[in-house]
Symmetry: C2
Subunit: 314 residues, 2 copies
């Protein structure tokens, strides 16, 4: 890429998250293409409409709409953004291999912890950018995505640092109206989000599709959430990512103050979709086992979640 | 009571369990009366039909059908059987006080552990018989109860021992076709049942209304059930009721061999009825806290169950 040509970005998984950031990157001046699974025909024909109160209605029209990464034309992309949900049985390295060139920076937009190593090992010579989306966004119809709240993308290089490519990616997002929060310690930041996610997500499902208000308001609810969060903090610290003092208090306070809402796992459960149990909870549990950290509340919820998944067929 | 007069028994709570054993005691030769809450009119008029493949159809026609214990005629009963479900907010001592005379033996047919002390303290001079029903029975309509399986009543005196009155009660049941298993260590036996119940019941609800097959068949399921059972055994031992070696193996093996079935709590949950969370799980958790036994899986499930109850309004 030279200074005058556009950054070429290929998004794999143009669902709600992929389309939302794809639209922003396009608005920010990049040439954005997309690999679609289910909505290929609609996106190919009309692109994706992203409706947002805050950002207005955006029309994401991919430069190339593709069925498979190998169909991408014009040489490897500068950035390959992987924004498919991480569920069991998906070989993410195989999914992107056909479109990764020597200079391609791989951007993972994914929930959970410890999701990078598999990709880092498969593509040891590529720059790897690990990103966490703080956004509430839903695909409401084929080729139609609704943005409800937030939007920030937090990212940095894996395992640490912040490259020129990362800064450039941030500039494109910011130019597209999206807050880009870069971090040179992205794994620590992932663990920080995990402290909230690995507590509230499984609790919200196991408690019977609860919103945050129900969880904190139940008898012993806040104390239980605190205990779970303490377990996650202990695992994070043992894994080399100690969290700042007061994080749990701050999370509990902010969550109690915010309007009650349902977690992504509760929404997935409610709509019969696969849940991100493994990346959000399972990876934290496995990190705890590996580091020798006793995490009985997490272990209990993980065992129960595997039963829920088995029951619901995911 | 003299040798020729009938034993006078008053059953408080003529639901499925009360009617089932009431019919048996009546068939065994006792004069059985009943206090009914919801089905008073139907029972007063026609009694209760107990349909059972094994025992045939029985007609339980109470000697007296009453709205309240205080209405019982002819002096206090020889036995007062309390067979209401123990849920939060029910003052059991107040419920039976009006019908308890100095010579009345109080029989508690209830699930759970540590359910006797409240009654023992309220009626320190009365004989207290603690009973556990191993029976699958349902009220299918007003005045109509269906018996599906099992039927055994296990009981003994609280806190321990086996009195003449207990033996007599057993004889009446046996004469009515019911297996009566007496124990001079009934509290230990209650803990034994709790090892199964406090594991499978909450798991079955939290896992999304699972039967025993789903629970044991899930990834890590059997290991998780074992861990929960080990916690209960540790609490029981600390409370002075150590369980025999091999109990957990035996439970796991028998449950895996039996046809899959849903626990009582899962059925209650499914039908929107109050669940016996407190007596089955909460009392075990509280005993653990009192005895200083670490029981994190039970604590986790208890916290989650309180959220489920809050959500379902019970």
């Amino acid at each position: 890429m030279n200074a005058t040509s556009k950054d070429r970005i290929l998004i794999i998984g143009a669902g709600a998250i992929g389309s939302f950031y794809g639209a922003a990157l396009q608005a920010g001046g990049a040439e954005v293409s997309a690999v679609c699974r289910s909505d290929y025909d609609a996106v190919r024909r009309d692109g994706v409409i992203v409706e947002s109160e805050r950002l207005g209605e955006r029309h994401f029209l991919p430069a190339q709409t593709l069925r498979a990464p190998g169909d991408y034309q014009g040489g490897p992309p500068d950035y390959l953004v992987l924004s498919v949900k991480v569920i069991e049985g998906v070989d993410r390295a195989a999914l992107i291999r056909d479109a990764v060139g020597p200079q391609t920076a791989i951007v993972l937009i994914e929930n959970g912890v410890e999701i990078e190593e598999e990709i880092a090992q498969a593509f040891p010579d590529n720059e790897l950018i690990s990103a966490l989306a703080f956004v509430q966004v839903s695909r409401v119809a084929p080729g139609r995505v609704r943005h409800f709240a937030f939007g920030e993308l937090m990212f940095g290089n894996y395992p640490s640092g912040l490259s020129e490519r990362s800064r450039r990616f941030a500039a494109l997002l910011e130019a597209g109206g999206i807050k880009a929060r870069t971090s040179d310690a992205v794994v620590t930041a992932r663990w920080q989000k995990c402290v909230w996610n690995a507590a509230f997500n499984p609790i919200s499902v196991l408690g019977g599709v609860l919103d945050t208000g129900h969880i904190l308001g139940a008898e012993g609810g806040t104390g239980f959430v605190r205990k779970v969060m303490e377990e996650i903090c202990a695992i994070a610290a043992a894994a080399g990512h100690p969290q700042q003092q007061g994080l749990i208090d701050q999370y509990l306070e902010n969550t109690a103050k915010a309007p009650p809402y349902k977690t992504s796992m509760a929404l997935d459960f409610e709509h019969g979709r696969p849940m991100e149990t493994e990346v959000i909870l399972g990876n934290a549990v496995r990190a705890g086992r590996r580091e020798g950290v006793h995490a009985p509340s997490l272990e209990t919820m993980y065992a129960l979640m595997k039963m829920v998944e088995r029951k619901t067929g995911h």
